[in-house]
Protein backbone atom coordinates (compact mmCIF):
# COMPACT_ATOMS: atom_id res chain seq x y z
CA UNK A 1 0.00 0.00 0.00
CA UNK A 2 2.92 2.31 0.71
CA UNK A 3 3.81 2.28 -2.97
CA UNK A 4 0.31 3.38 -3.95
CA UNK A 5 0.32 6.19 -1.38
CA UNK A 6 3.66 7.38 -2.65
CA UNK A 7 2.36 7.35 -6.22
CA UNK A 8 -0.73 9.31 -5.20
CA UNK A 9 1.21 11.97 -3.37
CA UNK A 10 3.73 12.17 -6.19
CA UNK A 11 0.91 13.05 -8.58
CA UNK A 12 -0.16 15.85 -6.22
CA UNK A 13 -3.88 16.01 -7.05
CA UNK A 14 -5.73 19.30 -6.61
CA UNK A 15 -8.02 17.74 -4.02
CA UNK A 16 -6.58 15.43 -1.36
CA UNK A 17 -6.96 11.89 -2.67
CA UNK A 18 -9.86 10.12 -1.04
CA UNK A 19 -9.54 6.41 -0.74
CA UNK A 20 -12.34 4.35 -2.22
CA UNK A 21 -11.24 0.73 -1.99
CA UNK A 22 -14.22 -0.18 -4.15
CA UNK A 23 -12.87 1.56 -7.25
CA UNK A 24 -10.75 -1.53 -7.73
CA UNK A 25 -14.00 -3.29 -8.61
CA UNK A 26 -13.96 -1.32 -11.87
CA UNK A 27 -10.93 -3.16 -13.17
CA UNK A 28 -11.69 -6.59 -11.72
CA UNK A 29 -14.19 -7.81 -14.37
CA UNK A 30 -11.96 -6.98 -17.34
CA UNK A 31 -8.88 -8.43 -15.63
CA UNK A 32 -10.62 -11.69 -14.84
CA UNK A 33 -12.06 -11.87 -18.33
CA UNK A 34 -8.68 -11.28 -20.00
CA UNK A 35 -6.98 -13.75 -17.68
CA UNK A 36 -9.46 -16.56 -18.36
CA UNK A 37 -10.19 -15.98 -22.03
CA UNK A 38 -6.92 -14.51 -23.28
CA UNK A 39 -3.88 -15.30 -21.15
CA UNK A 40 -4.79 -18.87 -20.18
CA UNK A 41 -5.86 -19.95 -23.72
CA UNK A 42 -2.58 -18.68 -25.17
CA UNK A 43 -0.53 -20.39 -22.46
CA UNK A 44 -2.60 -23.51 -23.04
CA UNK A 45 -1.81 -23.35 -26.78
CA UNK A 46 1.91 -23.24 -26.05
CA UNK A 47 1.45 -26.22 -23.72
CA UNK A 48 -0.55 -28.04 -26.41
CA UNK A 49 2.29 -27.69 -28.89
CA UNK A 50 4.44 -29.97 -26.66
CA UNK A 51 1.86 -32.76 -26.37
CA UNK A 52 1.60 -36.03 -28.24
CA UNK A 53 -1.07 -36.58 -30.89
CA UNK A 54 -2.28 -40.18 -30.71
CA UNK A 55 -3.83 -42.04 -33.64
CA UNK A 56 -7.21 -41.81 -31.92
CA UNK A 57 -8.43 -38.70 -30.12
CA UNK A 58 -7.10 -35.18 -29.84
CA UNK A 59 -4.01 -35.38 -27.60
CA UNK A 60 -2.41 -37.21 -24.70
CA UNK A 61 -0.64 -35.43 -21.88
CA UNK A 62 2.87 -36.54 -22.59
CA UNK A 63 5.77 -34.21 -23.31
CA UNK A 64 7.37 -34.27 -26.76
CA UNK A 65 9.38 -32.04 -29.06
CA UNK A 66 8.17 -34.08 -32.00
CA UNK A 67 5.70 -31.45 -33.24
CA UNK A 68 8.46 -28.86 -33.51
CA UNK A 69 10.76 -31.39 -35.14
CA UNK A 70 8.05 -32.03 -37.72
CA UNK A 71 7.22 -28.36 -38.21
CA UNK A 72 10.85 -27.30 -38.61
CA UNK A 73 12.11 -30.42 -40.36
CA UNK A 74 9.68 -30.52 -43.26
CA UNK A 75 10.74 -28.56 -46.37
CA UNK A 76 7.06 -28.25 -47.30
CA UNK A 77 6.44 -25.99 -44.28
CA UNK A 78 9.57 -23.97 -45.00
CA UNK A 79 8.35 -23.30 -48.51
CA UNK A 80 5.02 -22.11 -47.16
CA UNK A 81 6.70 -19.96 -44.52
CA UNK A 82 8.84 -18.40 -47.21
CA UNK A 83 5.71 -17.71 -49.30
CA UNK A 84 3.96 -16.12 -46.32
CA UNK A 85 6.85 -13.82 -45.44
CA UNK A 86 7.51 -12.96 -49.07
CA UNK A 87 3.88 -11.87 -49.75
CA UNK A 88 3.87 -9.90 -46.51
CA UNK A 89 7.09 -8.16 -47.46
CA UNK A 90 5.84 -7.27 -50.95
CA UNK A 91 2.58 -6.01 -49.45
CA UNK A 92 4.46 -3.89 -46.93
CA UNK A 93 6.68 -2.31 -49.58
CA UNK A 94 3.77 -1.54 -51.93
CA UNK A 95 1.59 -0.10 -49.15
CA UNK A 96 4.54 2.08 -48.11
CA UNK A 97 5.02 3.42 -51.64
CA UNK A 98 1.27 4.07 -52.08
CA UNK A 99 0.56 5.07 -48.49
CA UNK A 100 3.18 7.79 -48.28
CA UNK A 101 1.58 10.13 -50.86
CA UNK A 102 -1.81 9.55 -49.24
CA UNK A 103 -0.40 10.42 -45.84
CA UNK A 104 1.55 13.42 -47.11
CA UNK A 105 -1.53 14.79 -48.81
CA UNK A 106 -3.84 14.31 -45.82
CA UNK A 107 -1.33 15.89 -43.44
CA UNK A 108 -0.90 18.97 -45.63
CA UNK A 109 -4.43 19.48 -46.90
CA UNK A 110 -6.67 22.16 -45.40
CA UNK A 111 -8.66 21.28 -42.29
CA UNK A 112 -11.94 21.41 -44.20
CA UNK A 113 -10.87 18.60 -46.53
CA UNK A 114 -9.05 16.56 -43.94
CA UNK A 115 -12.21 15.38 -42.16
CA UNK A 116 -13.75 14.10 -45.38
CA UNK A 117 -10.55 12.41 -46.56
CA UNK A 118 -10.10 10.71 -43.19
CA UNK A 119 -13.60 9.29 -43.52
CA UNK A 120 -12.73 7.97 -46.99
CA UNK A 121 -9.57 6.42 -45.59
CA UNK A 122 -11.06 4.90 -42.44
CA UNK A 123 -14.48 3.74 -43.64
CA UNK A 124 -13.13 0.87 -45.81
CA UNK A 125 -11.69 -0.53 -42.56
CA UNK A 126 -15.21 -0.83 -41.19
CA UNK A 127 -16.42 -2.84 -44.16
CA UNK A 128 -16.02 -6.59 -43.79
CA UNK A 129 -12.89 -8.07 -45.36
CA UNK A 130 -15.13 -10.69 -46.98
CA UNK A 131 -17.14 -8.00 -48.76
CA UNK A 132 -14.01 -6.23 -49.96
CA UNK A 133 -12.49 -9.48 -51.23
CA UNK A 134 -15.77 -10.17 -52.99
CA UNK A 135 -15.46 -6.81 -54.72
CA UNK A 136 -12.03 -7.79 -56.00
CA UNK A 137 -13.39 -11.14 -57.15
CA UNK A 138 -15.93 -9.29 -59.30
CA UNK A 139 -13.21 -7.02 -60.69
CA UNK A 140 -10.40 -9.54 -61.21
CA UNK A 141 -12.31 -12.77 -61.95
CA UNK A 142 -12.18 -14.82 -65.13
CA UNK A 143 -15.36 -13.13 -66.36
CA UNK A 144 -14.71 -10.08 -64.20
CA UNK A 145 -14.76 -6.42 -65.14
CA UNK A 146 -11.19 -6.18 -66.33
CA UNK A 147 -11.45 -9.31 -68.44
CA UNK A 148 -14.79 -8.20 -69.90
CA UNK A 149 -13.17 -4.96 -70.93
CA UNK A 150 -10.01 -6.56 -72.30
CA UNK A 151 -11.95 -9.20 -74.22
CA UNK A 152 -14.29 -6.64 -75.73
CA UNK A 153 -11.15 -5.09 -77.22
CA UNK A 154 -10.09 -8.45 -78.57
CA UNK A 155 -7.44 -9.03 -75.91
CA UNK A 156 -6.53 -12.36 -74.31
CA UNK A 157 -8.01 -13.59 -71.03
CA UNK A 158 -5.91 -12.35 -68.14
CA UNK A 159 -5.25 -14.43 -65.04
CA UNK A 160 -5.63 -11.84 -62.32
CA UNK A 161 -7.05 -13.96 -59.54
CA UNK A 162 -6.46 -17.31 -57.85
CA UNK A 163 -2.74 -16.58 -57.97
CA UNK A 164 -0.16 -14.46 -56.17
CA UNK A 165 -1.20 -11.32 -58.03
CA UNK A 166 -4.76 -11.50 -56.70
CA UNK A 167 -3.53 -12.02 -53.16
CA UNK A 168 -1.19 -9.04 -53.32
CA UNK A 169 -3.93 -6.75 -54.71
CA UNK A 170 -6.28 -7.83 -51.90
CA UNK A 171 -3.65 -7.47 -49.17
CA UNK A 172 -2.51 -4.06 -50.39
CA UNK A 173 -6.10 -2.87 -50.51
CA UNK A 174 -6.89 -4.00 -46.98
CA UNK A 175 -3.71 -2.71 -45.33
CA UNK A 176 -3.13 0.54 -47.25
CA UNK A 177 -5.25 2.62 -44.81
CA UNK A 178 -3.23 1.33 -41.83
CA UNK A 179 0.01 2.40 -43.48
CA UNK A 180 -1.33 5.81 -44.57
CA UNK A 181 -2.78 6.56 -41.12
CA UNK A 182 0.45 5.60 -39.33
CA UNK A 183 2.56 7.83 -41.57
CA UNK A 184 0.03 10.70 -41.47
CA UNK A 185 0.25 10.58 -37.67
CA UNK A 186 3.92 11.49 -37.69
CA UNK A 187 3.75 13.83 -40.71
CA UNK A 188 1.11 15.88 -38.94
CA UNK A 189 3.58 16.77 -36.21
CA UNK A 190 6.09 18.20 -38.70
CA UNK A 191 5.53 21.86 -39.36
CA UNK A 192 5.31 22.68 -43.08
CA UNK A 193 7.38 25.74 -42.15
CA UNK A 194 10.49 23.55 -41.88
CA UNK A 195 10.21 22.55 -45.51
CA UNK A 196 9.42 26.12 -46.49
CA UNK A 197 12.48 27.36 -44.65
CA UNK A 198 14.64 24.89 -46.57
CA UNK A 199 13.03 26.08 -49.80
CA UNK A 200 13.69 29.72 -49.01
CA UNK A 201 17.32 28.85 -48.39
CA UNK A 202 17.51 27.57 -51.94
CA UNK A 203 16.77 23.85 -51.67
CA UNK A 204 14.73 22.27 -54.46
CA UNK A 205 11.33 20.84 -53.43
CA UNK A 206 12.66 17.27 -53.65
CA UNK A 207 15.80 18.09 -51.73
CA UNK A 208 13.77 19.82 -49.03
CA UNK A 209 11.56 16.75 -48.80
CA UNK A 210 14.41 14.21 -48.62
CA UNK A 211 16.49 16.19 -46.17
CA UNK A 212 13.73 17.50 -43.89
CA UNK A 213 10.35 15.80 -44.11
CA UNK A 214 11.34 12.22 -44.92
CA UNK A 215 13.77 11.76 -41.98
CA UNK A 216 11.29 13.32 -39.58
CA UNK A 217 8.51 11.03 -40.79
CA UNK A 218 10.55 7.85 -40.25
CA UNK A 219 8.89 6.96 -36.94
CA UNK A 220 5.53 6.79 -38.76
CA UNK A 221 7.05 4.76 -41.60
CA UNK A 222 8.55 2.47 -38.99
CA UNK A 223 5.24 1.97 -37.16
CA UNK A 224 3.27 1.51 -40.38
CA UNK A 225 5.61 -1.09 -41.89
CA UNK A 226 5.66 -3.07 -38.64
CA UNK A 227 1.88 -3.02 -38.38
CA UNK A 228 1.23 -3.98 -42.00
CA UNK A 229 3.80 -6.78 -41.98
CA UNK A 230 2.37 -8.33 -38.82
CA UNK A 231 -1.19 -8.09 -40.12
CA UNK A 232 -0.27 -9.51 -43.53
CA UNK A 233 1.57 -12.50 -42.06
CA UNK A 234 -1.55 -13.60 -40.20
CA UNK A 235 -4.09 -12.89 -42.93
CA UNK A 236 -6.29 -15.81 -43.86
CA UNK A 237 -9.40 -14.61 -45.71
CA UNK A 238 -7.70 -12.91 -48.64
CA UNK A 239 -5.30 -15.75 -49.54
CA UNK A 240 -8.23 -18.17 -49.50
CA UNK A 241 -10.72 -16.09 -51.49
CA UNK A 242 -8.31 -14.47 -53.94
CA UNK A 243 -5.71 -17.24 -54.11
CA UNK A 244 -8.00 -20.27 -53.82
CA UNK A 245 -5.77 -23.22 -53.02
CA UNK A 246 -3.24 -22.36 -55.71
CA UNK A 247 -1.19 -20.34 -53.29
CA UNK A 248 -0.67 -21.62 -49.78
CA UNK A 249 0.20 -19.46 -46.79
CA UNK A 250 0.86 -20.49 -43.22
CA UNK A 251 -2.44 -19.42 -41.59
CA UNK A 252 -4.30 -21.62 -44.13
CA UNK A 253 -2.16 -24.63 -43.21
CA UNK A 254 -2.59 -24.00 -39.48
CA UNK A 255 -6.37 -23.74 -39.72
CA UNK A 256 -6.50 -26.86 -41.89
CA UNK A 257 -4.36 -28.73 -39.37
CA UNK A 258 -6.78 -27.79 -36.58
CA UNK A 259 -10.18 -28.03 -38.23
CA UNK A 260 -9.70 -30.69 -40.92
CA UNK A 261 -6.80 -32.88 -39.78
CA UNK A 262 -7.85 -32.36 -36.15
CA UNK A 263 -4.19 -32.32 -35.12
CA UNK A 264 -4.08 -29.71 -32.36
CA UNK A 265 -0.53 -30.37 -31.15
CA UNK A 266 1.02 -29.97 -34.60
CA UNK A 267 -1.31 -27.06 -35.45
CA UNK A 268 -0.26 -25.27 -32.25
CA UNK A 269 3.42 -25.95 -32.96
CA UNK A 270 3.07 -24.53 -36.49
CA UNK A 271 1.35 -21.46 -35.05
CA UNK A 272 4.20 -21.01 -32.56
CA UNK A 273 6.77 -21.35 -35.34
CA UNK A 274 5.02 -18.71 -37.46
CA UNK A 275 4.71 -16.44 -34.43
CA UNK A 276 8.30 -17.02 -33.31
CA UNK A 277 9.80 -16.41 -36.74
CA UNK A 278 7.70 -13.26 -37.20
CA UNK A 279 8.88 -11.98 -33.82
CA UNK A 280 12.51 -12.75 -34.75
CA UNK A 281 12.20 -10.92 -38.07
CA UNK A 282 10.60 -7.94 -36.35
CA UNK A 283 13.31 -7.85 -33.70
CA UNK A 284 15.95 -7.72 -36.43
CA UNK A 285 13.98 -5.02 -38.27
CA UNK A 286 13.54 -2.91 -35.13
CA UNK A 287 17.31 -3.06 -34.50
CA UNK A 288 17.97 -1.98 -38.05
CA UNK A 289 15.42 0.82 -37.94
CA UNK A 290 16.71 2.17 -34.65
CA UNK A 291 20.12 2.49 -36.21
CA UNK A 292 18.62 4.22 -39.25
CA UNK A 293 16.70 6.61 -37.00
CA UNK A 294 19.80 7.52 -35.00
CA UNK A 295 21.73 8.02 -38.21
CA UNK A 296 19.05 10.28 -39.71
CA UNK A 297 19.05 12.50 -36.62
CA UNK A 298 22.75 13.17 -36.97
Amino acid sequence: MAGVDAAVSAQAPAVPARRFPWVVLLIVPILIFLLIFFVIPYVNMVYMSFLVKPAEGAYIKQFTLGNYARALGDPFYWKILRNTFWYSLVTTVITLVLGYPLAYHIARVSRRWRGLLLILLISPLLVSVIVRSFGWMIILGRVGLINQFVKSRGGPELHLMYNAFGIIVGLVHVYLPFMALSIAGSLQNISPDLERAARSLGASPWRAFWRITWPLSLPGVFAGTLLVFVLAVSSYVIPILLGANNVLVMPMIIVQMLLDAFNWPLGSALAMVLFGLTAALLWFYIKLMNRALRWSVR
Binding site: I27, I130, V255
Partner: protein, 269 residues
Protein backbone atom coordinates in the same frame (compact mmCIF):
# COMPACT_ATOMS: atom_id res chain seq x y z
CA UNK B 1 -1.42 27.35 -52.56
CA UNK B 2 -0.09 27.58 -49.04
CA UNK B 3 -0.79 23.94 -48.24
CA UNK B 4 1.21 22.56 -51.17
CA UNK B 5 4.94 22.31 -51.03
CA UNK B 6 5.60 19.29 -53.14
CA UNK B 7 3.90 17.52 -55.97
CA UNK B 8 1.10 19.99 -56.63
CA UNK B 9 -1.32 18.62 -59.16
CA UNK B 10 0.57 15.38 -59.61
CA UNK B 11 0.13 14.59 -55.95
CA UNK B 12 -3.56 15.44 -56.21
CA UNK B 13 -4.09 13.08 -59.16
CA UNK B 14 -2.10 10.23 -57.56
CA UNK B 15 -4.08 10.57 -54.37
CA UNK B 16 -7.41 10.67 -56.22
CA UNK B 17 -6.52 7.39 -57.98
CA UNK B 18 -5.58 5.83 -54.65
CA UNK B 19 -8.91 6.80 -53.06
CA UNK B 20 -10.65 5.30 -56.07
CA UNK B 21 -8.63 2.12 -55.57
CA UNK B 22 -9.70 2.02 -51.91
CA UNK B 23 -13.38 2.50 -52.65
CA UNK B 24 -13.66 0.59 -55.94
CA UNK B 25 -14.42 -2.92 -54.64
CA UNK B 26 -17.07 -1.58 -52.25
CA UNK B 27 -18.75 0.50 -54.95
CA UNK B 28 -18.68 -2.45 -57.36
CA UNK B 29 -20.25 -4.84 -54.86
CA UNK B 30 -23.04 -2.42 -53.98
CA UNK B 31 -23.83 -1.57 -57.58
CA UNK B 32 -23.90 -5.19 -58.71
CA UNK B 33 -26.46 -5.95 -56.01
CA UNK B 34 -28.96 -3.82 -57.93
CA UNK B 35 -28.21 -5.53 -61.22
CA UNK B 36 -31.27 -6.87 -63.04
CA UNK B 37 -29.27 -9.43 -65.06
CA UNK B 38 -28.59 -13.03 -64.14
CA UNK B 39 -24.82 -12.58 -63.69
CA UNK B 40 -22.55 -10.13 -61.98
CA UNK B 41 -22.02 -7.45 -64.57
CA UNK B 42 -20.73 -3.96 -64.45
CA UNK B 43 -22.22 -1.62 -65.50
CA UNK B 44 -25.46 -3.26 -64.36
CA UNK B 45 -28.01 -4.31 -66.95
CA UNK B 46 -30.92 -2.38 -65.55
CA UNK B 47 -31.93 -1.80 -61.97
CA UNK B 48 -33.69 -4.36 -59.85
CA UNK B 49 -34.18 -5.42 -56.27
CA UNK B 50 -34.58 -9.09 -57.22
CA UNK B 51 -31.37 -10.16 -55.45
CA UNK B 52 -32.55 -8.59 -52.21
CA UNK B 53 -35.77 -10.56 -52.60
CA UNK B 54 -33.70 -13.67 -53.25
CA UNK B 55 -31.76 -12.92 -50.06
CA UNK B 56 -34.96 -12.61 -48.02
CA UNK B 57 -36.03 -16.01 -49.36
CA UNK B 58 -32.77 -17.69 -48.46
CA UNK B 59 -33.22 -19.26 -45.02
CA UNK B 60 -29.48 -19.75 -44.46
CA UNK B 61 -28.60 -16.11 -45.15
CA UNK B 62 -31.54 -14.69 -43.20
CA UNK B 63 -30.77 -16.91 -40.24
CA UNK B 64 -27.09 -15.97 -40.32
CA UNK B 65 -28.01 -12.28 -40.56
CA UNK B 66 -30.28 -12.46 -37.52
CA UNK B 67 -27.75 -14.52 -35.60
CA UNK B 68 -25.00 -11.99 -36.31
CA UNK B 69 -27.21 -9.08 -35.23
CA UNK B 70 -28.11 -10.75 -31.91
CA UNK B 71 -24.53 -11.81 -31.31
CA UNK B 72 -23.21 -8.31 -32.01
CA UNK B 73 -25.90 -6.88 -29.71
CA UNK B 74 -24.94 -9.02 -26.71
CA UNK B 75 -21.22 -8.61 -27.37
CA UNK B 76 -21.62 -4.84 -27.55
CA UNK B 77 -23.36 -4.65 -24.19
CA UNK B 78 -20.79 -6.84 -22.47
CA UNK B 79 -17.68 -5.21 -23.89
CA UNK B 80 -19.05 -1.67 -23.50
CA UNK B 81 -19.81 -2.11 -19.80
CA UNK B 82 -16.65 -4.02 -18.93
CA UNK B 83 -14.38 -1.95 -21.20
CA UNK B 84 -15.70 1.40 -19.94
CA UNK B 85 -15.18 0.35 -16.33
CA UNK B 86 -11.62 -0.69 -17.14
CA UNK B 87 -10.89 2.55 -18.97
CA UNK B 88 -12.23 4.61 -16.05
CA UNK B 89 -10.06 2.77 -13.56
CA UNK B 90 -6.90 2.97 -15.64
CA UNK B 91 -7.33 6.65 -16.50
CA UNK B 92 -7.89 7.65 -12.86
CA UNK B 93 -6.70 5.20 -10.28
CA UNK B 94 -4.07 2.99 -11.86
CA UNK B 95 -1.10 5.33 -11.28
CA UNK B 96 2.00 3.20 -11.32
CA UNK B 97 0.44 0.16 -13.00
CA UNK B 98 -1.11 2.33 -15.73
CA UNK B 99 1.25 1.48 -18.59
CA UNK B 100 1.28 -2.24 -17.86
CA UNK B 101 -2.51 -2.38 -17.61
CA UNK B 102 -2.93 -0.39 -20.81
CA UNK B 103 -0.71 -2.83 -22.70
CA UNK B 104 -2.76 -5.74 -21.36
CA UNK B 105 -6.06 -4.08 -22.38
CA UNK B 106 -4.90 -3.54 -25.97
CA UNK B 107 -3.14 -6.92 -26.23
CA UNK B 108 -6.09 -8.79 -27.84
CA UNK B 109 -5.76 -6.34 -30.72
CA UNK B 110 -2.03 -6.98 -31.13
CA UNK B 111 -2.30 -10.74 -31.36
CA UNK B 112 -3.44 -12.14 -34.72
CA UNK B 113 -7.17 -12.85 -34.50
CA UNK B 114 -6.71 -16.21 -36.18
CA UNK B 115 -4.32 -17.30 -33.42
CA UNK B 116 -6.72 -16.04 -30.76
CA UNK B 117 -9.43 -18.13 -32.40
CA UNK B 118 -7.25 -21.23 -32.34
CA UNK B 119 -6.24 -20.70 -28.72
CA UNK B 120 -9.89 -20.25 -27.72
CA UNK B 121 -11.03 -23.30 -29.68
CA UNK B 122 -8.54 -25.56 -27.91
CA UNK B 123 -9.29 -23.95 -24.55
CA UNK B 124 -13.07 -24.25 -24.92
CA UNK B 125 -12.82 -27.92 -25.80
CA UNK B 126 -10.39 -28.65 -22.99
CA UNK B 127 -12.49 -26.91 -20.32
CA UNK B 128 -15.82 -28.22 -21.53
CA UNK B 129 -17.12 -24.73 -22.31
CA UNK B 130 -17.68 -26.44 -25.64
CA UNK B 131 -18.18 -24.99 -29.06
CA UNK B 132 -21.96 -25.21 -29.26
CA UNK B 133 -24.41 -22.38 -29.45
CA UNK B 134 -23.68 -18.68 -29.13
CA UNK B 135 -21.59 -18.84 -25.96
CA UNK B 136 -18.11 -19.48 -27.43
CA UNK B 137 -18.71 -16.86 -30.14
CA UNK B 138 -19.96 -14.41 -27.53
CA UNK B 139 -16.83 -14.85 -25.41
CA UNK B 140 -14.46 -14.70 -28.41
CA UNK B 141 -16.07 -11.61 -29.90
CA UNK B 142 -16.18 -9.85 -26.54
CA UNK B 143 -12.44 -10.46 -26.21
CA UNK B 144 -11.57 -8.92 -29.60
CA UNK B 145 -13.96 -5.97 -29.22
CA UNK B 146 -12.87 -4.93 -25.70
CA UNK B 147 -9.77 -3.03 -26.89
CA UNK B 148 -11.89 -0.81 -29.15
CA UNK B 149 -14.17 0.25 -26.31
CA UNK B 150 -11.19 0.73 -24.03
CA UNK B 151 -9.37 2.92 -26.59
CA UNK B 152 -12.32 5.16 -27.47
CA UNK B 153 -13.39 5.71 -23.86
CA UNK B 154 -9.78 6.35 -22.81
CA UNK B 155 -9.52 9.00 -25.52
CA UNK B 156 -12.41 11.05 -24.10
CA UNK B 157 -11.15 10.57 -20.54
CA UNK B 158 -7.80 12.16 -21.40
CA UNK B 159 -9.46 15.49 -22.16
CA UNK B 160 -11.75 15.29 -19.15
CA UNK B 161 -11.84 18.25 -16.77
CA UNK B 162 -11.89 16.69 -13.30
CA UNK B 163 -12.75 19.98 -11.58
CA UNK B 164 -16.38 19.49 -12.72
CA UNK B 165 -16.58 16.33 -10.65
CA UNK B 166 -14.86 17.96 -7.74
CA UNK B 167 -17.38 20.79 -7.86
CA UNK B 168 -20.26 18.31 -7.73
CA UNK B 169 -18.65 16.44 -4.85
CA UNK B 170 -18.00 19.62 -2.89
CA UNK B 171 -21.66 20.55 -3.36
CA UNK B 172 -22.59 17.36 -1.56
CA UNK B 173 -23.23 14.83 -4.35
CA UNK B 174 -22.16 11.25 -3.63
CA UNK B 175 -19.71 9.44 -5.88
CA UNK B 176 -22.41 7.49 -7.72
CA UNK B 177 -24.60 10.55 -8.21
CA UNK B 178 -21.58 12.49 -9.45
CA UNK B 179 -20.85 9.72 -11.93
CA UNK B 180 -24.42 9.60 -13.29
CA UNK B 181 -25.01 13.33 -13.42
CA UNK B 182 -21.57 14.68 -14.38
CA UNK B 183 -19.10 12.05 -15.61
CA UNK B 184 -21.38 9.88 -17.71
CA UNK B 185 -23.00 12.70 -19.73
CA UNK B 186 -19.57 14.09 -20.58
CA UNK B 187 -17.97 10.82 -21.69
CA UNK B 188 -21.18 9.57 -23.33
CA UNK B 189 -19.92 10.24 -26.87
CA UNK B 190 -16.84 8.13 -26.33
CA UNK B 191 -18.82 5.28 -24.81
CA UNK B 192 -21.35 5.21 -27.64
CA UNK B 193 -18.58 5.35 -30.24
CA UNK B 194 -16.81 2.50 -28.51
CA UNK B 195 -20.07 0.55 -28.49
CA UNK B 196 -20.60 1.20 -32.21
CA UNK B 197 -17.06 0.06 -32.93
CA UNK B 198 -17.60 -3.07 -30.89
CA UNK B 199 -20.84 -3.74 -32.74
CA UNK B 200 -19.40 -3.46 -36.23
CA UNK B 201 -16.24 -5.37 -35.26
CA UNK B 202 -18.36 -8.23 -33.96
CA UNK B 203 -20.72 -8.10 -36.92
CA UNK B 204 -17.83 -8.25 -39.42
CA UNK B 205 -15.61 -10.54 -37.36
CA UNK B 206 -14.23 -13.44 -39.37
CA UNK B 207 -11.14 -15.28 -38.08
CA UNK B 208 -12.38 -15.87 -34.54
CA UNK B 209 -15.83 -16.90 -35.79
CA UNK B 210 -14.38 -19.33 -38.32
CA UNK B 211 -12.91 -21.41 -35.51
CA UNK B 212 -15.75 -21.09 -33.03
CA UNK B 213 -18.92 -21.57 -35.08
CA UNK B 214 -20.98 -24.71 -34.78
CA UNK B 215 -23.71 -26.26 -36.92
CA UNK B 216 -26.79 -24.06 -36.97
CA UNK B 217 -24.95 -21.10 -35.47
CA UNK B 218 -23.37 -19.43 -38.47
CA UNK B 219 -22.59 -15.73 -38.61
CA UNK B 220 -23.16 -13.65 -41.72
CA UNK B 221 -19.48 -13.27 -42.75
CA UNK B 222 -19.02 -17.04 -42.44
CA UNK B 223 -22.18 -17.73 -44.49
CA UNK B 224 -20.95 -15.28 -47.13
CA UNK B 225 -17.48 -16.80 -47.12
CA UNK B 226 -18.82 -20.35 -47.59
CA UNK B 227 -21.06 -19.11 -50.38
CA UNK B 228 -18.28 -17.26 -52.22
CA UNK B 229 -16.00 -20.27 -52.21
CA UNK B 230 -18.41 -22.22 -54.38
CA UNK B 231 -20.70 -19.86 -56.24
CA UNK B 232 -20.70 -16.39 -57.55
CA UNK B 233 -24.28 -15.15 -57.59
CA UNK B 234 -25.56 -11.60 -57.11
CA UNK B 235 -27.37 -12.75 -53.94
CA UNK B 236 -24.00 -12.47 -52.24
CA UNK B 237 -23.79 -8.88 -53.47
CA UNK B 238 -27.18 -8.10 -51.91
CA UNK B 239 -26.02 -9.57 -48.58
CA UNK B 240 -22.78 -7.61 -48.81
CA UNK B 241 -24.68 -4.42 -49.54
CA UNK B 242 -26.68 -4.77 -46.34
CA UNK B 243 -23.43 -5.20 -44.45
CA UNK B 244 -21.93 -2.12 -46.15
CA UNK B 245 -25.02 -0.05 -45.30
CA UNK B 246 -24.61 -0.97 -41.64
CA UNK B 247 -20.95 0.12 -41.77
CA UNK B 248 -21.84 3.43 -43.44
CA UNK B 249 -24.48 4.13 -40.79
CA UNK B 250 -21.93 3.49 -38.09
CA UNK B 251 -19.28 5.67 -39.71
CA UNK B 252 -21.77 8.54 -39.91
CA UNK B 253 -22.83 8.08 -36.28
CA UNK B 254 -19.26 7.98 -34.96
CA UNK B 255 -18.34 11.01 -37.04
CA UNK B 256 -21.29 12.91 -35.52
CA UNK B 257 -20.48 11.84 -31.97
CA UNK B 258 -16.73 12.20 -31.54
CA UNK B 259 -15.22 12.51 -35.00
CA UNK B 260 -13.38 9.66 -36.63
CA UNK B 261 -10.05 11.42 -36.15
CA UNK B 262 -10.17 10.84 -32.42
CA UNK B 263 -9.84 7.10 -32.88
CA UNK B 264 -7.19 6.85 -35.52
CA UNK B 265 -4.54 5.15 -33.45
CA UNK B 266 -3.66 2.50 -36.02
CA UNK B 267 -4.86 -0.94 -35.10
CA UNK B 268 -6.62 -3.71 -36.93
CA UNK B 269 -10.00 -5.28 -36.91
Amino acid sequence: MKSRNLGGWWLGITVAILYLFLLAPIIIVVSSAFNAGEYLRFPPQGLSLRWFVRFSQSPSFVQAFKFSLWLAFFVTIASTVVGTMGALFIARYAHRARDALRILMIAPLQFPAILTGIALLIFFYATGIGTRGMRPLFLGHTLVTLPYVFLTVSTVLVGFDRSLEEAARSLGAGPLRTFWRITLPIIKGGIISGALFAFITSFDQFPVSLLLISVGNTTLPIALFDYLRFSFEPTAAAVSTLSVLLSVAIVVLIQRLVGLESIYWGGPR
